[in-house]
Amino acid sequence: MVTFALFCVVAFLSLSPIAVVLSRSPRASGVVYASCLIIALTLAVVGGMFLIGQPTSRITLPLGLPWLGAHFRVDALSAFFLIVVNLGGAAASLFALGYGQHEHAPERVLSFYPAYLAGMNVVILADDAFSFLVAWEFMSLTSWALVVAHHRERENLQAGYVYLLMAGFGTLALLLAFGLLAGDNGNYLFESVRAAPPSPSVAAIVLVLVLIGAGSKAGVVPLHAWLPLAHPAAPSHVSALMSGVMTKVAVYGFVRIAFDLLGPPVWWWSMPVLAIGGATAVMGVLYALMQHDLKRLLAYHTVENIGIIFIGLGLALAFKAHGMADAAALALTAGLLHVFNHSVFKSLLFFGAGAVLNATGERDMEHLGGLIHRMPQTAFTFLVGCVAISALPPLNGFVSEWLTFQAILLSPQLPSWGLKFLVPAVGALLALSAALAAACFVKAFGITFLGRPRTPAAADARETDSHSLAAMFFLSALCLVAGVLPGIFIDALAPVTNALLGVSMPHQAGLDWLTIVPVAESRSSYNGLLVFVFIVMSGSIAAVAIHRLASDKMRRGPAWDCGYPDSSPATQYTASSFAQPIRRVYGTTVFHAREVGDMPPPGSARPARLTVEIRDLIWDAAYAPIAVFIEYATGRLNVLQFLTIRRYLALVFSALVLLLLVLAIWS
């Protein structure tokens, strides 16, 4: 079976040269994206079959390191992530069938796109550290090529530069982690790492390195800095893949190492994971609230959701370390379900942003508005995505957050004091981020799609093409299905938790009325289907009753606005004015936000100006000093470039002597 999956990967890879050959043809993008759609769907089905009941399957190929070979394997965990990656990949390909037609230089996207999908799949299939790292780096490089696809915009090149640096840094951390895992005999096979897990102190270092390596790819604070630059720079279907899918591959890397390869956890391992998760969730959404670029807002919001996922994973580690297997299964299921949910609605939202970008040429929300009239179907699907990501019932985002809250409620039984203090704080941070997310998406949807158009481009927008709409409606339907029938999805995750923890959540499908319960003896339950039915029923009863019995008359008139309506669309609330109360409450401390009023002197006809200044303290504290240092060091080392040949020879000689001395002393 894994052989078949690898065939699909080869098919992806072979599409790349085909795309290069075809790229001048007008039908190239259709051929490439349609093939990607078919292959990705096939791989998703393969993943689904594995999850349902296929045994673990493995294969060794004579590639890579000659004494090791390339090992590939599919187990329950990789099967689940195969589904996530390829469902997202299929949706992005379907969207790109329409969206990709408008690409100015399609050859810059088409040849890398299938290779990028292949890279993500190989990361998940890899069963030895060498193949894993090669695939990881391949995934980074192909996505970098896609980030700089629109290379004429200066911003994008800078985003690509930062991304490349951070990706290299992350891979380095993973490389060191695998080096420690392999132990003295250098056995990079996952199988042998699993058989001989490292000692707890080494394992702790590995965990930190994995948090840095996989965490920087996933976008945990403070390693998130590249993400909001790089994700929006790529074409929108690639943004969707990077935000919705590639961050999940990073989560896969973390889960694979932390839960599978590291051996039994120690309780305090969960502390950094939980703390980082909580900080990431709140900081991500606060950053998102400060943005007025729609795609950047979505990218920052990915950071928040990664935080929620890491909270679930951290809780699972804590419960596992203390032997509370049922609670660990609940927390891990919550985290993984959020992985799936986020991949669905974040892809959906990026597709919507892409459709808007296509229709108006604008990513800046301050230049949009009123699109619900011109693009009603895009607006509807985007709204579904907004409700889902804001964790509102009855859609799917709520289910995974509800499960996370239920896991937190089981944690007072944890015996360690550190966790007793940390977990309630993390719970409060999670609740805060959920509420702020709703505010963020009221802003994202309300400013972009509601109100009156702020520019002619927004006023003349046209509904997007049918392929893009099909992709968006497909994902919206998935949001609803996963929201009202969560039991099916929780049961599907049972093999994964069984493999990693030895237990799974109680079987949900057997419960009355498709209700879900967190743990067997719990007395809490939630039923998305009934809530959905109740809302639809009571809403329609009210509508029918009022229209029949009272009045159904309606007339259009000018807006009331307390008697002083202003015809200029500029008097509407903008993205930054909408965020003003929240900026004042949270931003003054977190971002040192300041509003600077510039009043003209008396007698001057110059308009008054109000500017908002926001500082990114994390960038200033962590990234800017490094840049300053490198600048300084390179300036100092520059003299080495202008030495005479004698001095170069002397330099080489002394370096050689030094190395020999070191060797002599070492042994």
């Binding site: 509420a435 009221v442 109740f534 606005d561 929240i582 409450v585």
Partner: protein, 318 residues
């Protein structure tokens, strides 16, 4: 047979909350007026307002979209469902297990999400100011509410309201510090959520300080009636939740006979009336605060809730 009976009780509850919600708001208004030595509107005035609004035609702004017309029904449905799932006169409602307290809070969150969108739909400055302030208040009130839920749920061992109510009446609880903190925080959150003084003034118009009324300024006719009814239901919801969690005595058990149910209904009405009187007294005795003082007020509620949860993490008996 049991199923039919339970269905009947669930239906009765849905009708009961719908009928009691306007009169609760009316009672608050009457008591407030009397405290100010005014005559005040009659108790049943909210019903008359609703009926009058329902009969009027809707005047819709030119720039309003289809979403603007759907939102009143969504907001009303979400709030009504939430209010119908709180045990009021009889616990063990047929569908109470379909949504626990976290889900009910989130359901009200959905209603607010859509109402805030409605404020932005027409594209006026008043709608925008209302929406942006509403989400700012919600961004603190919702986490505070969740921490309160955590506190009570950790004591009761469930997030299900009926289980919580049963646990509170069982006598196993006693007086606890954490419950006191939770009650105080819950009252603060309820005041904020229902746009009451000192957070917002439900009686005001044309003031830059208003929040809820600014958001729904463009609504008229049957749409406005539904939104008014929804906010009346929301007030009823919060009073009922406080009653159900902290004064659950009198609620009829699932197997209670007709007498128990009559006692339950009477005690429920009495609790509502007491809540209305207390709210009116509180509102008349305090001045409205500046909108940027609200975060301090709600931040205190959030910290109280967090403290309650933390105490329970430290020791199960606090």
């Amino acid at each position: 047979m049991v199923l039919i009976r339970d269905f009947a009780f669930q239906g009765a509850q849905m009708l009961l909350v719908l009928l009691l919600a306007p009169v609760l708001t009316g009672l608050v208004r009457v008591v407030k007026a009397r405290l100010l030595r005014r005559q005040g509107p009659p108790l049943l005035q909210p019903y008359r307002d609703l009926i009058r609004l329902l009969r009027k035609e809707v005047v819709l702004a030119h720039s309003a979209s289809w979403l603007f017309r759907v939102i009143p029904y969504l907001v009303f449905a979400g709030t009504w469902v939430a209010a119908s799932l709180v045990p009021t006169f009889r616990s063990g409602l047929l569908f109470s297990w379909s949504a626990d307290l976290i889900a009910l809070i989130a359901l009200l969150g959905s209603a607010r999400f859509f109402l805030a969108l409605a404020g932005l739909d027409v594209g006026t400055s008043f709608g925008g100011i209302g929406s942006s302030r509403e989400v700012m208040i919600a961004s603190l009130a919702e986490p505070a509410m969740l921490m309160i839920v955590f506190t009570v749920a950790l004591i009761a061992g469930s997030t299900q309201l009926s289980v919580m109510a049963a646990h509170m009446t069982s006598g196993a609880v006693g007086l606890r510090v954490s419950l006191g903190l939770a009650l105080l925080a819950l009252i603060m959150v309820s005041i904020a959520e229902n746009a009451r003084i000192p957070i917002d003034n439900p009686a005001t118009h044309l003031e830059l300080t208003m929040v809820h009324e600014a958001m729904v300024l463009e609504y008229s006719g049957r749409h406005l009636a539904l939104i008014d009814l929804a906010s009346e239901l929301k007030l009823l919801f919060y009073v009922s939740v406080i009653a159900c969690l902290f004064i659950p005595w009198g609620i009829a058990p699932p197997d209670g006979n007709a007498g128990a149910i009559a006692v339950g209904a009477a005690s429920y009405v009495a609790k509502l009336a007491a809540g209305a009187v207390l709210l009116a007294v509180f509102e008349t005795s305090i001045a409205k605060m500046r909108v940027f003082r609200v975060p301090a007020f709600l931040g205190a509620a959030l910290m109280l809730g967090l403290l309650g949860t933390l105490l329970l993490f430290v020791s199960g008996s606090l």
